[in-house]
Symmetry: C2
DNA sequence: TTGACATGAAACCATTTGGTGTTATATTAT
DNA sequence: ATAATATAACACCAAATGGTTTCATGTCAA
């Protein structure tokens, strides 16, 4: 099967640098050094982020000559999307908002 | 204004326990001890999770007698939803998949 | 073939994270 | 009043996180 899932997609996406890497790779496939040039951190640190993203199956890299080209695999983000969608009812629903406001009024009385 | 945003919503939601807490609070407002009873960890640990969720403005608690009742504020999850939606084009769009496959073929030739 | 480039791999480090236990204070019920 | 309940506030801890530096290896170009 695919790589051991030591990191889940929620955790992979929790770091701003990793989110930026995903954005970079959405435009074009990039080698490690090219990705590194977009940040102020060292290549080694970038590689660690790439490893975490790989473990979450969000990216994968393949050797091409002396370079290792990474490309995006956005599918696992669906898990987050699905999780979030459950909560949409609570902000889409005006009745929920009304309920919240009423509860807040009750608080003040006490 | 609201509490210092030491933790952003992506990080808040990265922990499975915190995600479960949000689910619990989506059904009903709960006191700290009631939330704790759903887990095998100590109350102190639960309180730390609640603090992180509060800092991300996903929940808020108000004192009611000797209890502190927490309730859900799902709105900040929109930030995640919006971020994810950018990537939907890459899995919704069949042309993107074709592009990906073609690029892969090019790689092999080199 | 030799130097420059790209990556791999290891050791190390400070801070954060997710947890514990203990003690103290406020509130409720008897 | 007093015991039980609910939370608050600490101090402490091991492991994970996000970063560094150093050194080794493989590949390309001149």
């Amino acid at each position: 099967m695919s790589a051991l899932k030591k990191h889940d997609v929620f955790q992979a996406v929790a770091d701003p640098t990793r989110r930026e890497i995903l954005h970079l790779l959405s435009h074009q496939n990039l080698a490690i050094s090219e990705i590194t040039s977009h940040f102020s951190i060292t290549r080694t640190a970038v590689v660690k982020h790439l490893t975490i993203l790989s473990e979450a199956n969000l990216i994968s890299g393949k050797k091409n000559g002396r370079e290792k080209i990474y490309h995006l695999h956005p599918e696992p983000l669906m898990e987050i999307k699905d999780w979030i969608s459950y909560f949409e009812q609570f902000w889409d629903n005006k009745l929920s908002m009304l309920k919240f406001l009423v509860e807040n009024e009750e608080d003040k009385k006490e």
